[in-house]
Amino acid sequence: MKNEELTRKIKRLSNFSLVAIIIYFVLNILGFFTVNKSYIIDFDDHSMPENIIGIISMLTVVFCAVAGAITTFMMLNDLSKKRTPFTLRISCLMRNLGIYLIILDIAKAIFVYIAAGEVIVGLFWFAGIIFYAFSLVFRYGKNLQKESDETL
């Protein structure tokens, strides 16, 4: 059956991606040790509100990065175990991942602005929008899967 073959292939690829994301996450954590000094807040150079906003944005970045990594891990884990990739849970996880990426980029931009006085906007926010759009595609796939199951 072509359907089953594809499902097996998806599961294999998900397992591979799961291992890859763990390695990637560990490498990123190691990367923290080589952080550029110009992006570290010197509390004496800034006013109290700036320091508070800086700390909040930094904590938000850390939270979103960890939450994003956990969400990706859970999503890939589900993809490698579930019968079909089109489920409501995977669609919701993908939507959450998109939201985390958007918040992460905004918080990162605020933090860099306070720490270094530069306005740097990455493309994470855009990746977040794409993930959000894909979550809708997965919801559409979920409906197709339901139809297929009911037909059988």
Binding site: K2, N3, L6, T7, K9, I10, L13, S14, F16, S17, A20, I21, Y24, L27, L79, T84, P85, F86, L123, F126, I129, I130, Y132, A133, F134, L136, V137, R139, Y140, G141, N143, L144, Q145, E147, S148, T151
Partner: protein, 157 residues
């Protein structure tokens, strides 16, 4: 939610994403066209490899965004995300990410006298890009599965 409602939301969100990706890709291309000749003149010779690397990476990034805009345009037009064209477009984005991961290495090899190739360097060069490429290939397979379901649904109706 009803299937037709989801289709409408998909169409709308695809239109938004298509416009954003198109605009960003144009901005990136314009920034390369205007900045590259100036940067090459202003900055010292030592940093030229970095500038070239950056310019190529930006062009590839614009290409990725352009293909993404194309995918979302197709989804917006047909309301169907699971088509052969979209599957191949996602695969081509994965290919572009692999190239983007290899670019720093290729540029360094071209413009430096020393030996720059080697497995460890290759792995470090663009590990993030390779990871994204792997994820995109996974998405392409999921879309293939979606296409099968779509065909089943069409045949049933």
């Amino acid at each position: 939610m009803m299937k037709s409602n989801v289709e409408t939301i998909i169409r709308r969100s695809s239109l938004v994403v298509m416009m954003i990706s198109g605009i960003i890709s144009v901005f990136i291309i314009l920034s390369v066209i205007f900045n590259y000749p100036r940067d090459i003149e202003i900055f010292p010779k030592v940093t030229r490899n970095l500038i070239r690397e950056e310019a190529i990476a930006r062009c590839l990034c614009a290409a990725v965004l352009f293909v993404a805009a194309f995918i979302f345009f197709r989804i917006f037009r047909s309301g169907r995300p699971f088509t052969d064209g979209n599957i191949w477009a996602v695969r081509s984005i994965a290919g572009l990410f692999v190239i983007k991961g290899l670019v720093p290495l290729a540029v360094k090899s071209l413009y430096s006298e020393g030996f720059m190739l080697g497995v460890p360097r290759l792995i470090v060069a663009g590990i993030g890009d390779f990871f994204i490429a792997g994820l995109l290939l996974l998405f392409a397979e999921i879309m293939r599965y979606g296409k099968l379901l779509q065909n089943e649904s069409d045949e049933t109706l």
